[in-house]
Amino acid sequence: MELFLSGKHHTIIVKIYGELDHHAAIGVRESVDRELGRTGARNVAFDLSKVTFMDSSGIGVIMGRYKITKALGGRVIVYGASGDVKRIIEMSGIDSIAVVADSEEAGMREVEANV
């Protein structure tokens, strides 16, 4: 997992590599929340383009960050998902609470429109 701060967008960008299951979700959650507190960012963008496996625990992580960023007046952006990861995101209706985009550019355009 890599975390970047995009200061211009007040956004923590979280790029997840490999598998996002319940076991991995615990670490992602902790790191993202620590960065939110440390940087004062209010948006979280999940880059899922390098995720090779994700189950419902990934949805839980996204929903959890939605609640936190909402309280900060920010948003969650999810982009880069393909295959079954994308199917699971669609199935869960996450697009009603988060910005779901195909690419980083499209996701960031949404953030810019929202900040």
């Binding site: 598998e19 299951d21 319940h22 076991h23 979700a25 615990i26 959650r29 496996f53 994700m54 189950d55 419902s56 625990s57 949805i59 839980g60 992580v61 929903m63 959890g64 609640k67 295959g83 079954d84 199917r87 699971i88 199935m91 869960s92 209706g93």
Partner: protein
Amino acid sequence: MYKNSMKVEFPNNSDNERFARTVAAAFILELDPTIDQLSEVKTAVSEAVTNAIIHAYEQDEGIVTMEGNICGDVVEFTISDSGVGIPDISRAREPLFTGKPEKEERSGMGFTIMETFMDTLDVQSEVGKGTRIMMSKKLK
């Protein structure tokens, strides 16, 4: 007709979620699954095993059992635990239902994903005794 079976038992540690779905994937390789089928089976198994790990035993240690059976081109997995059980199975199977408090961040999508990615899903559970999930998929 090709037949095979297997059984593994492991403690309810979260790192066994990956172990279990990797075993499940290796077990069905003989049937030449497509990449999509492989991914669907791994995800469904991961949901059932994760449920046994996080819901069945609360803070206690417990054993999760995974059995696999192949008969022709159909694979069936059974994931069982001897944990707390599910009081209302049809409610538990509803999309977005979770029995966990909000702070645990469960989405309640596990059973929905198992149903979508497998052909059949059967849930048996008795409060105080445990839970048994059976799911099957035709791989042709």
